[in-house]
C-alpha cells in the first residue's frame, strides 16, 4: 500500500490562495486505510475549508483514484460540481493526484504527501517494505527486502558496521542482514549467501517509466 499523510494546513492555505470554490476528491483504497483521504477525512477537510470561508462545490471518493479511467468516469459524474469549482483538492497519493490532473485543466491541489510503499502495523504505524526496484530478490532473502531495509541497500550480506544485530546507521534498528540470516538459518537454507549477487539492474527504474505488462 502507498502510505500517505496530509500536508500541513499552512501549506494547503498557501496553495488555496485566491481559490474560493473547491471540489474535493478522496480515494477509497490506500488513502482510506491510512486515514489520510477517505470519506471521513474528506468530510473533515470540507468542514475545515468552510471554516476558512470557502465553498465546497462537491466531493467524491473514487474507488481507486490511481485508476485513470475510473477517476475520469467519477469526475464526469460530478461534471457540474467540478465545473463550478476554482480548484480540485485531491486527497490521494501522487499517482491519484496525477490521475485527476490528467482529466482536468483546472488547478489541482494535492493535499497529501506520498511517503513510501509499505505495510500498516496498526493505524499510524507504518513500515516501509519495498522500493519497487523491479528486480525482486525476496525469494533469496527469506522474504526480507535488503534494498529497502538495509540502510545501504547492500545485496551480498552485512556491512562492517553491524553490531550485535543492530544497524550502523541507527542502533535502534535491526540490521536487515541479521534478520535475513536468522530467518534463512531457521529455514535451513543458504538463500542469498549461496551466490555472489551481481550489481543490480536499475534499468527497471529508469525515468520516466513506461510499462506494459501482460
Amino acid at each position: 500500500m502507498i502510505i500517505s499523510r496530509q500536508k500541513d494546513k499552512e501549506d494547503l492555505l498557501r496553495h488555496l490562495e485566491g481559490k474560493h470554490k473547491v471540489f474535493l476528491v478522496g480515494c477509497g483504497a490506500c488513502a482510506t486505510v491510512c486515514k489520510s483521504g477517505g470519506e471521513e477525512e474528506v468530510s473533515q477537510m470540507q468542514e475545515w475549508l468552510v471554516s476558512t470561508g470557502r465553498e465546497v462545490t462537491g466531493s467524491v471518493v473514487i474507488d481507486e483514484a490511481c485508476h485513470i479511467m475510473r477517476a475520469g468516469r467519477d469526475l464526469r459524474h460530478n461534471r457540474s460540481a467540478v465545473g463550478e469549482a476554482d480548484a480540485l483538492m485531491v486527497m490521494t497519493c501522487g499517482a491519484g493526484i496525477q490521475s485527476i490532473s490528467s482529466h482536468t485543466e483546472k488547478r489541482v491541489i494535492g493535499a497529501l504527501d506520498s511517503l513510501f510503499l509499505g505495510n500498516v502495523r496498526r493505524l499510524g504505524q507504518y513500515e516501509e517494505k519495498c522500493s519497487l526496484c523491479g528486480d525482486c530478490i525476496l525469494n533469496e532473502t527469506a522474504g526480507i527486502c535488503p534494498v529497502t531495509n538495509c540502510a545501504k541497500g547492500l545485496l551480498n550480506g552485512p556491512c562492517g558496521g553491524m553490531e550485535e544485530g543492530k544497524c550502523e546507521s541507527d542502533r535502534d534498528l535491526d540490521c536487515a542482514w541479521m534478520l535475513i540470516y536468522e530467518r534463512l538459518s531457521r529455514q535451513g537454507r543458504k538463500g542469498v549467501f549461496a551466490r555472489v549477487v551481481p550489481a543490480k539492474d536499475w534499468g527497471h527504474r529508469h525515468q520516466p517509466g513506461r510499462h506494459k505488462i501482460r
Binding site: 545501504k152 547492500l154 545485496l155 556491512c159 550502523e168 540470516y181 551481481p198
Partner: protein, 285 residues
C-alpha cells in the same frame, strides 16, 4: 606486480600502514608522514572520506605517494560514487600506476560531516571487487572490452570478531569469490577469536593482514571497545593502560604483542597508529 602482491605471494610477512588525505589542499602533512614510514612498511593505505567525512580525493593522494616512491593502497568506498564513477576512477588510478586497492562499502553518511548527503551504494563491496576483477580481465562491468586493462591487486576488509561469526564469514567467503586477493582486518586484540577465524579462513588461501590499532590510553581503548563495530578490547588491556605511568608507552607494548600474535597466525599486519607514526619501528621490533 606491486611490492605488496609480490611479498604476499612469496609468503613474506608484510606490513602496511595508513594515512588520511587532508581536509583542504595542504598536502605537506600527509606527504611528510608517508615519507617517514620505516622501510618495513611495504604499502600505505589512503583512506576514502573515512567515517563519511569529506576530504581530498584519495586517488590524488595515492598518485602523489606513488610518484614519491611510496607504494599506496588506494581505498575506495561505494558510498559516494555509482558504478560508472567507481570504474572510471579505477582506470584513472591504473594510469598513475596504482595497483593495490582496498574496496569497501563505506560508512553511512549519517555520521559524517555531510549527514544529509545521499548515500549512493550503487554497488556493494562484493560487487566493487567484481568490478575491479572484471577491469583487470579487460572488461568493464557492462561486459565491454577495454583498450588496455589495469593490473589491480584488489583487497577487502573483514572483522574477524564480528558476530554472528557465520554471517560475517559468509560475506568474507563472497569477497574471496568476487576476487579479493588479500584482506586487512579490523583491529583484533586477542588470540582466541583470531585463531578461530584464521582456521576457518585457511582453506580459502588468501593472505590476511591483521589490523593493529595503537591504543593511546585507557579512555581511547574503552571508546573503541564500545563504539567501533566488531572490535573488542579485553578488560585486562584496558587495565594495563589505566595503570601505566606512560599509557602511550604501554599502548606501543600492546601493539608490539599484537604484531607478534600476527606473526604466529597471519600473513602480515596493517598498522593504524593515528598520528604516532614515529612509533612504528618500535611496534615492529
Amino acid at each position: 606486480m606491486s611490492k605488496l602482491a609480490e611479498k604476499l605471494i612469496a609468503g613474506e610477512f608484510v606490513v602496511t600502514a595508513e594515512v588520511a588525505p587532508p581536509k583542504g589542499v595542504d598536502l605537506d602533512g600527509v606527504l611528510a608522514t608517508a615519507a617517514c614510514f620505516p622501510p618495513e612498511v611495504v604499502a600505505v593505505n589512503v583512506t576514502d572520506n573515512q567515517g563519511a567525512n569529506m576530504r581530498m580525493a584519495p586517488l590524488v593522494v595515492a598518485a602523489l605517494l606513488h610518484q614519491g616512491g611510496v607504494e599506496p593502497v588506494l581505498q575506495m568506498t561505494c558510498r559516494d560514487r555509482n558504478r560508472m564513477a567507481l570504474q572510471s576512477d579505477l582506470l584513472g588510478a591504473a594510469a598513475f600506476g596504482i595497483k593495490n586497492l582496498l574496496l569497501l562499502s563505506g560508512d553511512h553518511p549519517r555520521f559524517g560531516d555531510h549527514p544529509h548527503a545521499r548515500g549512493v551504494f550503487d554497488l556493494d563491496s562484493v560487487q566493487l571487487l567484481q568490478a575491479a576483477d572484471r577491469l583487470t580481465a579487460g572488461q568493464d562491468l557492462a561486459g565491454r572490452p577495454l583498450a588496455g586493462s589495469p593490473a589491480f591487486f584488489g583487497g577487502a576488509a573483514v572483522s574477524p570478531q564480528a558476530e554472528p561469526f557465520e554471517l560475517m564469514f559468509q560475506k568474507f567467503r563472497k569477497k574471496v569469490e568476487a576476487g579479493a586477493r588479500f584482506f586487512q582486518t579490523q583491529a583484533v586484540f586477542c588470540e582466541a577469536p583470531l585463531t578461530r577465524f584464521m582456521e576457518q579462513a585457511a582453506p580459502l588461501r588468501v593472505p590476511v593482514l591483521l589490523g593493529v590499532l595503537l591504543l593511546k590510553n585507557a579512555r581511547m581503548a574503552r571508546f573503541v571497545h564500545e563504539h567501533v563495530p566488531g572490535v573488542r578490547v579485553p578488560e585486562h588491556l584496558i587495565d594495563r593502560l589505566d595503570g601505566a605511568a606512560d599509557p602511550l608507552e604501554e599502548g606501543v607494548r600492546i601493539a608490539r604483542e599484537t604484531v607478534r600474535l600476527a606473526r604466529r597466525h597471519c600473513q602480515g599486519v596493517h598498522l593504524m597508529t593515528l598520528g604516532c607514526e614515529d612509533r612504528i619501528s618500535e611496534i615492529l621490533c
